[in-house]
């Protein structure tokens, strides 16, 4: 992957303290969309931590992903408010429509799916977000429309 970008992140934290581990991982994920193996090795060299320790921390937190996300990264909220408003159905429909499970990326590299606990928009439940853009009150009808539009957009790129 793009190791220069990782180096830039590392240079932002010249004092190699353990407390910077999580911020570094967060920065890496922001740039690459996920935490790559290379980045773990490089951060490990910088902080003098074995890779296993870093993975230990990274896998503990829900925020970090280890697979390259699709062109459209779908986050579906499974918080309480969204659950009460039927987010399971939306989740199942997405899985069926895209033929992927949570945490996977579709074969064409177009879609990836992630479950999050409360996107902080409970009043608009059920909520999904695609690449950070929110869609409120999602039901199946709305969902299929969203997916259709995304497919179109993705196909033309």
């Amino acid at each position: 992957m793009n190791n220069n970008a990782i180096n830039e992140v590392i240079e932002k934290y010249p004092s190699a303290k353990r407390e910077y581990l999580i911020p570094m991982l967060q920065d890496v994920q922001e740039i690459q969309g996920f935490v790559s193996k290379d980045s773990v090795v490089m951060i490990g060299d910088h902080l003098k931590l074995p890779g296993a320790k870093i993975y230990g921390v990274a896998t503990f937190y829900n925020q970090f992903r280890f697979n390259k996300p699709g062109q459209f990264h779908i986050q579906i909220c499974r918080g309480t408010a969204c659950h009460v408003k039927g987010s399971v159905n939306v989740l199942e429909s997405i899985e069926r429509a895209l033929n992927i499970k949570v945490g996977q990326t579709s074969r064409d590299g177009l879609f990836s799916l992630e479950v999050v606990a409360c996107l902080g928009a409970c009043g608009l439940a059920p909520v999904i977000s695609v690449n950070g853009e929110f869609y409120a009150n999602v039901d199946n009808k709305k969902l299929f429309k969203i997916l259709k539009n995304l497919r179109k957009e993705g196909g033309t790129k």
Binding site: E19, Y20, N62, C122
Partner: protein, 403 residues
């Protein structure tokens, strides 16, 4: 709610933190914020910069000789990091697992230095209290719960959003007056208060005053101040299962009762809600048996867990069991879900008179359980039906009946 304070008026938090830090003589303060709230993070960052230029934070604040540095830490999303010792570990760059107390953080906390941890809402209240005096703050609320509380109303309710009410306001007022009641003519069933570790409050207790003590009497707690309203289309067994699933996946894994116990409880709940078609007698027996063990298991988890997450993990189950026992019984004995949520307990049939034979459902059914020829009424082979509900969703003629 805390996010609203930070996004709306970050200076209140900064001022509160400065006063608190001055009070205890701390020179460094951390704000631990969820990474999912980028706007809040940005606004707080900007506000700290502005406060610095005016000399309200930084070195020698307002010529008092007092220094304070405020650092923002983005949490990496873990529910258990709401536990103070886990939060400290997370700031230190480690796995966010709680540790036994003592030593309390006030003695040895972040980087082994004395540390005080407070919630954003509390800190944001400080400036007003100092300015207006304690009497002003105490003028609102009940005898033991003072001031106001901000709730986030959501779920099956007409007006969603944040509401600030005086302590002691009744739940009824919040839901039916401020919240505008339940939409679409459905009936109120319960409200979940205090998030996954809290409890639910049924209709019979709706006149309860919201303050710290009264909530405990009905098995709920204030917690984060989330109020999720549920109408009659919500299945309480399913809600318990949902919370258990969440808690189970968020348990940090340090204590066996919490790690394994929550998993077992989830399995029991799943069994209660799972399908009937191909159950053997032994499985039925096991299902009954496990239910009997549920409350025992709950007590063990409560007693033997280290942190608040584990101690409160059985709450959703205990509180739904307390108020909605009949729903559990229906699921267990009659194998019925009155709210029609537990899909595996439902029987799907096609109403012959309504079906136009459009074949849409037959095409969409993932298990090919729907048979019939074009333009003739279809029927569902219930041995094959997995109760996924697809036909119900796709049918344009309302011809699917669910029981």
């Amino acid at each position: 709610m805390d996010r609203a304070v930070i996004e709306g008026d970050p200076y209140r938090l900064i001022e509160g933190m400065a006063i608190a830090a001055y009070g205890i003589g701390a020179s460094k303060a951390y704000v631990y914020l969820r990474a999912e709230y980028p706007l809040a993070i940005q606004r707080l960052k900007d506000a700290i910069e502005v406060a610095k230029t005016y000399g309200f934070v930084g070195n020698n604040i307002l010529d008092s000789g007092f220094n304070l540095e405020i650092v923002i830490k983005k949490g990496a999303v873990a529910f258990v990091c709401g536990e103070e010792t886990a939060l400290i570990k997370s700031i230190e760059g480690k796995r966010g697992m709680p540790k036994p107390r003592p030593p309390y953080p006030a003695v040895s906390g972040l980087f082994d230095k004395p540390t005080i941890i407070n919630n954003v809402e509390s800190l944001a209240n400080i400036p007003n209290i100092i300015r207006e005096g304690a009497g002003w703050f105490n003028g609102v609320g009940t005898e033991n719960s003072k001031g106001t509380k901000v709730f986030a109303l959501s779920g099956n309710i007409a007006n969603t959003g944040l509401v600030e009410v005086a302590m002691g306001t009744t739940l009824k007022e919040i839901i039916f007056e401020i919240g505008g009641g339940i939409p679409d003519g459905y009936k109120y069933k319960a409200v979940q208060i205090g998030g996954p570790s809290g409890g639910c409050i049924p209709e019979s207790e709706i006149d309860i005053q919201i303050d710290y003590e009264s909530l405990i009497t009905v098995g709920a707690m204030m917690g984060s101040g989330g109020l999720v309203v549920m109408d009659e289309n919500t299945c309480m067994v399913d809600v318990a299962k949902y919370f258990m699933g969440f808690i189970q996946s968020e348990s940090c894994g340090k204590c066996i009762p919490c790690r394994e116990g929550t998993r077992r409880m989830l399995e029991i709940l799943e069994r209660i809600a799972s399908g009937k078609s191909n159950e053997t007698e032994l499985e039925t027996l096991e299902r009954f048996q496990s239910v009997l063990h549920m409350t025992d298991l709950a007590t063990i988890i409560q007693d033997a867990s280290l942190c608040g997450l584990g101690k409160s993990a059985p709450n959703p189950v205990l509180s739904t069991l307390r108020w909605f026992r009949h729903e559990y019984e229906e699921h267990i004995y009659e194998r019925k879900c009155r709210a029609k949520v537990c899909k595996e307990l439902l029987t799907f049939t096609i109403i012959e008179d309504k079906c136009t034979g459009c074949t849409l459902c037959a095409i969409q059914c993932p298990t090919d359980a729907i048979l019939g020829s074009k333009k003739h009424p279809h029927y569902i082979n219930f041995e094959k039906c997995i109760g996924c509900g697809t036909c119900l969703e796709v049918c344009n003629f309302d011809s699917i009946n669910v029981e």
